[in-house]
Symmetry: C2
Subunit: 464 residues, 2 copies
């Protein structure tokens, strides 16, 4: 059977190589630009996080390749794989970046740094960038369907384990590799897929995105130099599917991949692009939304709140591993903190997830009043739903939030996106934030990447 | 239970940090030096392989950090993680490097480049180097027992998946990290463990060793910069054991690690250090030995050989994935080629595993006469055994080889080690090979690593 038509591993490479900007539907281009802009925003904000500073310092203190890709946090030039690494860590450091359900992970935080570093190194244009970004996105979607929930539940952080394959596809596309070279790049990437969920709530989670970005770039650069990998990396004996596990058998996987044409795109599917308004784990988003709505509607100031009860799906409850946050890192995975700070500030942005904020007495006073209840009633279709009940002076205020905000059925408005970008980027770039957002809105007309890249050089890093 | 004494994850870090040269038994120091010398030898020979050149080119064309670690293949200075990568690929490129059974993998090809790059960057002495090397070796042994055969059979290339943890331990020891930092380094490394066996027989196999070396160094450098990881990276929910799988339950794993003291050492155990006389897969070593013995004893020239029958364990048979080798890379994993060339040349060194050699008519004429038979009769205790039967002019010559040559029960003699080193290194370094071997024999008395490092600069790379 497998000899009759190209093996599916080769099909993936062919699809990634064949994708052309001219063939992309307008809505796909629009959504890709939304994802790119949002990820640049959270990535620039993320450069100030300790883990991003450590990664940038590692790269810039040991790597110098003048004139190539920019490490955002320092403004230094680096080899593209180093910049992809450091910027990938920054994009995921605040956990404020978008994700997609089919891969159970954060796709753009891996792809954006890959495409950016190679665009900058090769001075590509906006169209090539968008082709590569979408190619990587779709490859992640293909594999996401094959691996899906059982892969994530096994303990893998799909952002990295699936992300690295999409990253290799995007890097291959940026570098203009042949189908053969791209096939080898994907096979090399399969041997570099890692990231385990035990490290959620530690700085290592953010490293996962940077690592996948780096290894995607590295795989493509090695394939271009003639390095070979197995032609059966996905379905062969001792291959990726067998070792990393998923929801499909090899035969089902082959069928699923053959069926994935580029007539329909994961990115515009019903769960293909989820944007985060709040700078915390996506599992808490519906609960945060409901909490803010309740306190605003009934003007429930902290001292008037007696108790907050939060019903979430058991899977979400398990992902939110911290119950008493000691710092911002833990705060993002601590439902008690997230809900308390949302009730106090009526917000859930970057300001709410700083170490200082986590120590605030009014928030800490409220945290013991938050009680979480794992509740399966919503079923897998509405797994991200939440119900929040606030008790105040003998009364009970209740709100059910079916979809998390930012979900395609409940997308952010343009105004919300602009506000998020400004909140993220103005503290870093000042007024240049607005110019940057205007340029990314028009990405397909950027003719030389250098023009865009110069905009993100941090003020302190701009040559005097 | 786990609160009563330090978690096992911390115990591993404590053990790695506490190991002192002064406490190492003489035999452990001797064996470590044997492993180090052998790995330097096969690594220098490996620098000429295409995959090693590609890795070195990637590192040196994009990384410059003058005055630090040397990329052997080019003589360029690099950041330690880049040199560890390129040199790790070189050490595994010929598949001629040693391995240990508890981890089912090649330990030294990962550890040597880690220790070398950090020794050179920090100008350490020979004692620190040996401490770090042994610490990494023992950590790999600890984890090897926990994961063992089921991990390897699942499809993982333990050289990299287990190797990266030992690499982090060795790097932490080289850098003098605290127990806390070392614990984080191990947890970071656990999120960077990858390498799947589907890529055996392709160039990507050699990348696995380089990748583990790089990520071990990177994990330690990040931990030194304050990056955190889960304290339960090994046994916690969604941790390393749960995702990568092994032969022990978490409770058994904890007990096994607690029992691992540094009074006994894996490296001097019955299967702790296996050296390869032949430049091909260890699975074919007993068969090669038996073949050479038979053709020598009975002076069986190729034209006199009618048939060769090779009985090997089913697991070995599966590892030798190629049946008709197109090049040296496949030749190392092709029993038919390996046996044919051994019968023709009465040898199995680097000269027998070049692309030119694979094309020789007299070898190709003999290959169809080699027949392999998967045969479980030896049982897991003697899994590496082989029986070879050669038919010639109506007569039958038969030889059973219980242990592969290089196995601790059948170790290489000092003369064989010297001959292997010379065969590997003289083509690269000329007469300096002998001086290098003399210095590594006396490694604990090297007071500044620079002295040793200068010896391995390739003649073309020495400043004019």
């Amino acid at each position: 059977m497998r000899n009759a038509e190209p093996p599916v591993e080769r099909l993936i490479a062919e699809k990634a190589v064949s994708l052309r900007f001219e063939d992309l539907p307008e809505n796909v281009v629009r959504l890709a630009k939304v994802a790119v802009t949002d990820t640049i925003g959270v990535g620039l904000a993320g450069t100030r996080e300790p883990v991003a500073r450590a990664a940038a310092d590692l790269v810039t203190s040991t790597t110098e390749a003048p004139g190539s890709a920019t490490v955002w946090a320092t403004g230094s030039g680096s080899a593209p794989q180093g910049a992809a690494y450091a910027n990938g860590v920054a994009c995921h450091a605040l956990d404020w970046d978008d994700y997609m359900h089919p891969m159970h992970g954060h796709c753009s935080a891996v792809l954006l740094p890959v495409c950016w570093a190679l665009a900058e190194s090769g001075d590509a244009d906006g169209r090539r960038f968008l082709e590569a970004f979408v190619a990587g996105y779709e490859v992640n979607g293909m594999l996401g369907r094959v691996l899906a929930t059982p892969h994530y539940e096994k303990g893998w952080h799909s952002t990295s384990t699936i992300g690295v394959i999409g990253a290799a596809a995007a890097a291959a596309r940026m570098l203009g590799l042949t189908v053969d070279q791209t096939a080898h790049a994907l096979g090399i990437a399969a041997s570099h897929a890692s990231g385990i969920r035990v490290n959620f709530g530690s700085m290592t989670k953010a490293l996962h995105a940077g690592h996948a970005a780096r290894q995607g770039v590295t795989a493509a650069l090695l394939a271009r130099r003639g390095v070979t990998a197995s032609a059966e990396w996905l379905l062969g004996p001792n291959g990726y599917l067998a070792t990393y596990g998923g929801q499909m058998t090899p035969a089902e996987a082959a069928e699923s991949i053959r069926a994935h044409t580029f007539d329909t795109f994961v990115i515009e599917g019903p769960v293909g692009l989820v944007q985060k308004p709040y700078a915390c784990c996506g599992s808490s988003h519906a609960a945060v939304e409901a909490t803010i709505a309740l306190v605003e509607e009934h003007d429930l100031t902290p001292e008037r709140i007696d108790a907050i009860e939060v019903h979430v799906d058991p899977l979400l409850n398990k992902t939110l591993i911290h119950h008493d946050a000691a710092n911002a890192l833990e705060g993002r995975y601590c439902l008690e903190y997230t809900i308390a700070v949302a009730a106090v500030d009526r917000a859930g942005g970057a300001a709410q997830f700083s170490d200082e904020s986590v120590g605030r007495p009014e928030v800490r006073a409220l945290m013991p009043k938050v009680r979480r209840i794992a509740d399966r009633r919503n079923g897998p279709e509405a797994r991200f739903a939440a119900e929040v009940v606030i008790r105040s002076g003998g009364r009970e205020y209740r709100r059910f939030q079916e979809h998390q905000p930012g979900h395609p059925s409940h997308p952010l408005t343009e105004a919300q996106r602009a506000a998020k970008f400004a909140a993220a980027v103005r503290p870093v770039l000042g007024d240049r934030a607005d110019e940057l957002r205007l340029r990314t809105a028009d990405l397909e007309h950027v003719t030389a990447w250098r023009e865009l890249a110069d905009l993100i050089l941090l003020p302190t890093a701009v040559p005097a």
